[in-house]
């Protein structure tokens, strides 16, 4: 049996959790290796060798070393095409084209405003950084426009790329999870009928439930 793949980074990182969701969907055994970002471990020379931009996650299996969460997800989906969720990355070129289109839409249109909101509303307070109200307002406006497009799309199609849950939907899980569970912006998703229905379905998947569990801080050690 193949040794577990390695994922470097904290599970609370949106990009790390994107990769974990994919590994769980594909039933791939993994080892999660902590990277202490509060101590700057991700900017040290040893880490920069595997991820030159000093970001998480990075990934290794016996044949390759990778970074960029969406590239890692594509790799895992291709390499393990015949196990776990076999529809995750499409089974023919037309399906794949649609998945790539919505994966790019996630990366280019959904991710920038949603990440900015996640940082401002979920992380900045924890890190005791001052929130930028201008960025919050602008990001909310942009995200609302994107979600209007999604609302229309998800009225025509069960999932973004078609009738099956794919990488395109999965890629949205991390940012949306934060927005819905720890900020007051969750309504942006839940008040839209089709987006709300879609969020409920994709976040209710076993794989995502497990990731959310991994993101919870460990219980305090008993005295």
């Amino acid at each position: 049996m193949a040794s577990p793949v390695k994922v470097y980074g904290p599970p609370m990182s949106t990009a790390v959790s994107r990769v974990l969701a994919c590994l769980l969907e594909k039933g791939v055994n993994f080892q999660l290796i902590p990277v202490d970002m509060s101590k700057g471990e991700h900017k040290k020379p040893d880490y920069l060798k595997i991820q030159p931009f000093g970001q998480v996650p990075s990934f290794q299996d016996e044949s390759i070393s990778l970074f960029e969460s969406r590239a890692i997800c594509r790799y895992v989906s291709e390499k393990y095409a015949n196990q776990g969720n076999k529809r995750l990355y499409g089974t023919n070129p037309l399906e794949k084209a649609s998945i790539e289109q919505w994966l790019e839409a996630e990366g280019q249109s959904f991710n920038p405003p949603s990440s900015a909101l996640v940082f401002q509303l979920a992380f900045a307070p924890r890190m005791k950084l001052k929130q930028d109200m201008g960025v919050i307002k602008q990001s909310e406006e942009k995200l609302n426009k994107v979600l209007d497009v999604y609302e229309q799309r998800l009225g025509e199609s069960r999932f973004l790329a078609g009738d099956e849950f794919t990488l395109a939907d999965l890629s949205h899980l991390p940012n949306t999870q934060y927005l819905v569970s720890v900020t007051d912006k969750g309504e942006m998703f839940t008040k839209r009928k089709n987006v709300g229905r879609w969020w409920s379905e994709i976040s209710g998947r076993d794989s995502w439930t497990k990731v959310v569990d991994l993101q919870k801080p460990p219980p305090p050690k008993s005295a």
Binding site: P52, F53, I64, Y75, E78, A97, E104, Q108
Partner: protein, 213 residues
């Protein structure tokens, strides 16, 4: 055989990205102009092709696609045997290509496209470049280019020995920025400089630029 159609304007960086792929693959296609000044990209007819109201949009018979990087990937795989090889049939090489395509999309482009906006597009819309914003963006892009410099010391192109999509995706922003003061970011890094000179000199790229005349 179905006609390939690209809807857009040859001045849009995203449309130029798709055009580059079409020319590299030596494919026959029709460039359907979209009058963005007149708001045509927000018309109902165009929104049926790209619900985000952005160019480009692509048609291959019944298949409709948007997002330039999804379009280039579709073209590269679907027409693998024609023209320039832009992706790799080798899974490991394709994976490395995929990593550096993501790098262009998420590390390079966010800063490069904002710089293009400051220097070039603002002027087109009668607005003035903000030097403070330019300086901040150059700082950020410079850090990315430091990684590129180290990378291009290891290999001639982004993903290895051959030109591919990971290089091609950079062309539109590089083209615009080479005509601005931010050119210094590329000139000051020898391997990046050589790479920029190499890829912008490709005949297929010259065909894209010719469309702007």
């Amino acid at each position: 055989m179905a006609v390939l159609k690209l809807h857009g304007t040859p001045f849009s960086t995203a449309a130029m990205r798709a055009l580059a792929a079409l020319y590299e693959k030596e494919l026959d296609f029709e460039l359907v102009p979209v009058d963005m000044k007149a708001g045509q990209h927000k018309s109902e007819a165009f929104l049926a092709l790209n619900p985000f109201g952005q160019v480009p949009a692509f048609e291959d018979g019944d298949l409709k696609l948007f997002e330039s990087r999804a379009i280039t990937q579709y073209i590269a795989h679907e027409h693998a045997s024609k023209g320039t090889q832009l992706v790799s049939p080798d899974p490991k090489k394709m994976t490395i290509l995929s990593v550096w395509m993501e790098v262009e999309a998420h590390q390079f482009d966010p800063h490069a496209s904002k710089l293009c906006f400051e220097h070039v597009f603002k002027k087109m819309f009668g607005m003035t470049t903000d030097p403070a914003v330019v300086e901040e963006l150059e700082g950020k892009l410079g850090k990315v280019l430091d990684v590129y410099e180290a990378r291009l010391t290891q290999s001639k192109y982004m993903s290895g020995a051959c030109f591919g999509l990971a290089d091609l995706h950079h062309l539109p922003a590089l083209h615009y920025l080479q005509g601005t003061s931010s050119k210094k970011l590329f000139d000051s890094r020898p391997h990046v400089c050589a790479w920029v000179a190499d890829i912008t000199a490709r005949p297929a790229w010259a065909k894209v630029i010719a469309l702007q005349k």
